[in-house]
Amino acid sequence: MKFRTSRFGEIEIPDASVLFLKEGILGFPGEKRYVLLDHDAEGTPFKWLQAVDNPALAFVVIDPTEIVSDYCFPVEDDVAEQLQSTSPEDYIPMVICNIPRDDPAKMTANLRGPVIVNIKNRNGRQIILKDEVYAFDHCVFAGVEREE
């Protein structure tokens, strides 16, 4: 499948790599198909969550365990049902990064609203954690610094 992006030009990806977010990302209900790209991210765990149907819409995402090594959250039954998953190992979690243009070192990640994708069928959803242990704006680089 070929589609256009504002950052990376025209892109060709296997049809089987498209992720389906039935409800979209909160605030962007119209975009439901995404792909994960790793442009300019070599050697880092960052990826682009690029909308297939909106060339300009792309989120920088990261595996949350790269920021908080013991990151974990419960997946509610209704979410598991919607994503048709049978095992916790079905999920890839990612969190959306918020990067100030003038000072990327102040980047934060939304650990409270992870996006999870069932790798077996590529259905995904952004969920909001009920528990308040994780922040909407967790400092990415402060977290890395604290690691041993």
Binding site: R7, G27, F28, V60, N98, P100, Q126, K130
Partner: protein
């Protein structure tokens, strides 16, 4: 907007499977109980809005390239220098 007055202990039915009950009223705070199918996400409005705001901000700020971010990540991921590790081990 439909506006209803309810006393403590009274409920509102929304459709056939959602019940909102006023459990307790104390000053300007109300405790609300909600019974809804598991498929319906229930959140405090401000939590929902905050995630939406973070998403919108993230999309608006999304960089053209990850070059700067990659440099920052590499710098922070560097292991601690051997001298400082050896120094603390001797003590």
């Amino acid at each position: 907007m439909l506006i209803l007055t309810r006393k403590s202990g009274e409920s509102i039915n929304i459709g056939s499977d959602i019940v909102v009950r006023v459990l307790e009223i104390k000053g300007n705070q109300a405790r609300i109980g909600i019974e809804a199918p598991r498929s319906i996400a229930v959140h405090r409005e401000e939590v929902y809005q905050q995630v939406q705001r973070e998403n919108e901000l993230a999309a608006r700020r999304s960089p053209e390239s990850l070059g700067n971010v990659r440099q920052l990540w590499m710098a922070k991921k560097k292991p601690p220098s051997p001298e400082s590790a050896a120094g603390s081990a001797k003590e």
